[in-house]
């Protein structure tokens, strides 16, 4: 379990004064047995207009492969500052990535969406593997991914 306290590199939306009220949120991503090497996962948030708001986590250490996380890469231009300090190892097939971080209350029930882009060596790129609206109601409800993610849950 990886724990992270308010060191998010989240941009504008999340650095509002409302950051004062934040609470720990656990993000749990379980991969299915897709029969490939470790998956790169980018977890990030878009605002109500669909624009990139900030990154939450990058699973996968080698930036040369980030271009395969298509949507994240298009949104950030692969900017390493976006994931500075929130990078970990890639996640093997069938494994679970669990991270806990402090997320601003203002992100919830305000039209923000949490996205996961996924990519695996020699397999398809899967942008928008998961896209789940951040709502207090939706917390704790598993959401399936498109190709690699068996289910994703955020818990407050």
């Amino acid at each position: 379990m990886k724990s992270l306290l308010a060191t998010l590199a989240l941009s504008t939306a999340l650095t509002m004064p409302a950051l004062a009220s934040a609470q720990p949120v656990t993000l749990k991503t379980t991969l299915n047995n897709y029969g490939g090497d470790g998956a790169y996962l980018a977890l990030y948030v878009t605002d109500p207009s669909g624009a990139y708001a900030g990154s939450l986590w990058m699973a996968g250490g080698k930036s040369k492969y980030y271009e395969h996380l298509n949507d994240w890469y298009r949104a950030t231009g692969g900017d390493p500052a976006q994931i500075n300090g929130i990078t970990g190892a890639s996640v093997g097939a069938g494994r679970t990535l669990e991270i806990t971080l402090d997320l601003a209350d203002a992100l919830f029930d305000a039209g923000y969406t949490l996205h996961i882009d996924a990519a695996v060596e020699d397999m398809r790129d899967s942008p928008n593997e998961v896209a789940v609206p951040l709502t207090t109601e939706g917390a704790g409800t598993p959401v399936p991914g498109r190709r690699y993610v068996a289910d994703f849950t955020y818990d407050m």
Partner: protein, 735 residues
């Protein structure tokens, strides 16, 4: 120094390098299989047409990729389910699963990271460094061994493990260099030490906002041949701001989904091109044939490892423990050893032991620790020196000659130099000879004249020991048997006697083949496999030292035949020439691959005198393909010692022997075999020019006379006997 750079990386990284090479060799198969199996796109097919075909069948198409092998894979979503398949470009239909092969993935992870992630990648890279160091040091060692780059592919001599090691290495090394160097580049690329990432393409801010244009209407897709495609990603369905992402062999760009306009484009960078080329060279993806060749070369690595280990172990085993070694400052006799594989140490230890037993105080040391200023009580220095390759110093003699040259004054300690070597090498005992000459040039007193031991001959060593003992005034019996051979009983079948009238009693002895056990047949051990020119070691009663004779027959002939001359007072020759049919001797076969005719149809020039005719007769006897053979045979008197006279005539009639030139050394006009050769010079030159191979068998004096004659005859026509020797076209078997 170079040897240390070869030995230690080899021993330390043996297992790692073997794993990398074997996994790499198997991995090389996949690109070949993929290249064969992948349906290929025709040259006229455009990306637009290909994409249309696929989209017709898979409407939710998201991405098309083309591997360097030409294999096209499509990825789509259908009713929310992800789909993927290998595509036949002529139909656009999926023909095979796109899932990665689990075994290939497993092997790839073993090969590049030993299943250990990034630390494993570093370990693999260190294995590549070891391979690189081994290749470079190995190249230098081979060049030294064969006597220069120009002789890179010359014939090899010496023990099997060493020959096999070099034989494989000199072919495989180019592939091993390429594989290890490229792998280091790839590791550096993986760890992002090389700026070979794609160029950053700005996301187009302005798009036409149109969607649903037909693929055929997108100009660039229509212009790009499918064979140049790397990948094409489709815009999200219904997202008007999204674009096509096209990657080709030239670069990457974004296309407007409505107008097909190129919104952004970046060519591949030079770094990218270099990295891609290196990736292709290493993996064979996009160059399957090269990959297969590299894979085959990598298969040599386990054999190189095993033979290398064998060479190293043999060297270690060969070096015996020396008991009670006197200190250099106290010893009367200084014994200096220059050994390459360790076998010379065995002889030195025997000599050390025998001298000590005779009451001498002896200091034994490698030649590299030569320190004349410390030899305060020394009465004599004995140097036993092997030779490395074409006359280089052996490993334990490092720096000896420099130290010798540095001694300004003549040393007043008498010196004896004994060389150890193999006459099948052109530079026979060249290093020992250099020392002997250096000592002579310095005017130092000589204890014993320079002498040599051919192929670890125990007889020659015992003979030299007697001479040393005579000088020292002690009885010195040197019995050194390098590796005690397993002997079998041989029964004499028949004998024919010659030469009694010319004081050279000589017998042709024919022994029955010993009955081989099944195991011996299976492993080729014992005397079950032999050919004319191989040696037979006879253990005479009353001596542990075997005597070697050349075989005049092959396994196929069904008997073992040797020619023996009775030496006055000779222990073994006396017993052999007295042997009656039905009686037994103890013997073993020793292979002698250096003295054997090649398999070509080029003419053979066989030169021999006296008992030296033995192996030559064997070659003629088995000459079934009727290759031209010219035999020069020297004898004393045709009435008395014309060995094999009858058979030779018969073989000539049958065409197994083209010509026989005899020379007779007794009588009115005495003539030696070298005289006959000089008289036949034009024909010899013609034969050599037509590719003939020369094989000489006989005593030392005769061989020296023949060598001089050959040198003169060939030199007059601009040919070189030395060059023939280097090419393996001039071989000698001298006793």
């Amino acid at each position: 120094m170079i040897r240390a750079f070869h030995r230690w990386p080899g021993l330390i990284a043996l297992a790692l390098v073997t794993v990398l090479a074997l996994s790499g060799a198997v991995l090389a198969v996949f690109p070949v299989a993929e290249r064969i199996a992948a349906p290929q796109a025709g040259a006229e097919l455009s990306v637009a047409t290909l994409a249309e075909r696929i989209q017709t069948i898979y409407p939710g198409l998201e991405q098309i990729r083309r591997a360097p092998s030409g294999q096209i894979t499509a990825y789509w979503f259908e009713a929310g389910q992800p789909g993927a398949a290998v595509i036949d470009p002529t139909t656009g239909r999926g023909v095979a699963s796109a899932d990665p092969n689990a075994f290939q993935r497993w092997l790839t992870n073993l090969h590049r990271s030993l299943f250990l992630g990034d630390p494993g990648r570093v370990a693999s890279a260190l294995g590549s460094v070891a391979m690189l160091v081994l290749s470079v040091s190995g190249i230098l060692l081979v060049a030294r061994r064969v006597g220069g780059w120009r002789n890179w592919f010359s014939r090899l001599r010496g023990p099997l493990a060493g020959r096999l090691h070099v034989e494989i290495a000199r072919v495989a090394v180019i592939g091993l260099l390429l594989s290890s160097a490229t792998s280091l580049w790839m590791t550096a690329s993986t760890f992002e030490l090389i700026p070979d990432g794609g160029p950053l393409l700005g996301i187009p801010a302005e798009v036409s906002g149109q969607t649903d244009a037909p693929l055929a209407g997108l100009a660039m897709l229509g212009d790009t041949p499918a064979t140049e495609l790397r990948s094409l990603s489709f815009p999200y369905d219904g997202d008007a701001t999204d674009v096509f992402t096209l990657k080709t062999d030239r670069g990457t760009g974004y296309l407007d989904q409505g107008t097909g306009a190129v919104l952004a484009w970046a060519d591949l960078t030079a770094w990218q091109r270099v990295s891609e080329t290196i990736y292709m060279l290493h993996t064979g993806q996009g160059a399957a044939l090269l990959g297969a060749v590299l894979g085959l070369m990598a298969l040599g690595v386990p054999v190189l490892g095993l033979t290398g280990l064998t060479i190293w172990l043999a060297g270690r085993r060969g070096r015996p423990r020396i008991r009670a070694n006197q200190r250099a400052a106290r010893a009367e006799t200084i014994l200096l050893v220059g050994s390459e594989s360790g076998s010379t140490w065995g002889f030195a230890a025997t000599l050390h032991e025998a001298l000590r037993a005779a009451g001498q105080s002896v200091h034994i040391a490698p030649m590299s620790s030569f320190a004349p200023e410390r030899y305060a009580h020394a009465d004599r220095i004995i140097v036993l020196a092997a030779t490395y390759g074409e006359g280089a110093e052996p490993s334990s003699a490092k720096g000896f000659l420099t130290k010798l040259d540095a001694c300004s004054d003549a040393l007043d300690i008498p010196i004896a130099v004994l060389g150890f070597g193999d006459r099948s090498f052109p530079a026979y005992c060249a290093y020992a000879q250099t020392i002997a000459e250096a000592v002579e040039a310095k005017g130092w007193p000589v204890l014993l004249p320079y002498d040599t031991i051919d192929r670890q001959s125990p007889q020659a060593f015992a003979r030299w020991g007697q001479a040393l003992g005579a000088v020292l005034g002690i009885a010195l019996e040197l019995h050194h048997q390098p590796t005690p051979p397993a002997t079998t009983e041989l029964t004499l079948q028949s004998r024919r006697d010659y030469g009694a009238d010319v004081q050279a009693p000589t017998s042709i002895l024919r022994f029955s083949l010993p009955r081989a056990t099944f195991w011996q047949r299976l492993t080729g051990a014992g005397s079950t496999r032999f050919a004319a020119g191989d040696l037979i070691g006879i253990l005479p009663e009353g001596s542990p030292t075997p005597r070697l004779y050349s075989l005049a027959s092959s396994r196929r002939d069904g008997f073992l035949e040797i020619v023996v001359k009775k030496h006055p007072g000779g222990l073994c020759s006396g017993q052999l020439t007295a042997l009656e049919p039905g009686e037994n001797v103890r013997a073993f076969v020793r292979r002698n691959p250096a003295f054997r005719p090649d398999r070509s149809r080029a003419p053979l020039i066989l030169i021999g005198a006296g008992t030296g005719i033995g192996p030559l007769v064997g070659f003629v006897r088995e000459n079934e393909q009727r290759r031209p053979i010219h035999l020069f045979f020297g004898m004393r008197d045709p009435q008395s010692d014309f060995l094999y006279a009858q058979e030779l005539g018969g073989w000539k009639d049958e065409g197994r022997l083209s010509r026989i030139v005899t020379s007779v050394s007794r009588g009115q006009r005495p003539r030696y075999v070298q005289d006959a050769m000089r008289a036949d010079a034009p024909e010899l030159v013609r034969l050599v020019q037509s590719g003939a191979r020369i094989m000489v068998c006989g005593g030392r004096d005769m061989a020296a006379g023949v060598a001089d004659a050959l040198h003169d005859i060939l030199a007059a026509s601009g040919l070189s006997a030395t060059k023939l020797k280097t090419e393996g076209r001039y071989v000698e078997d001298i006793f």
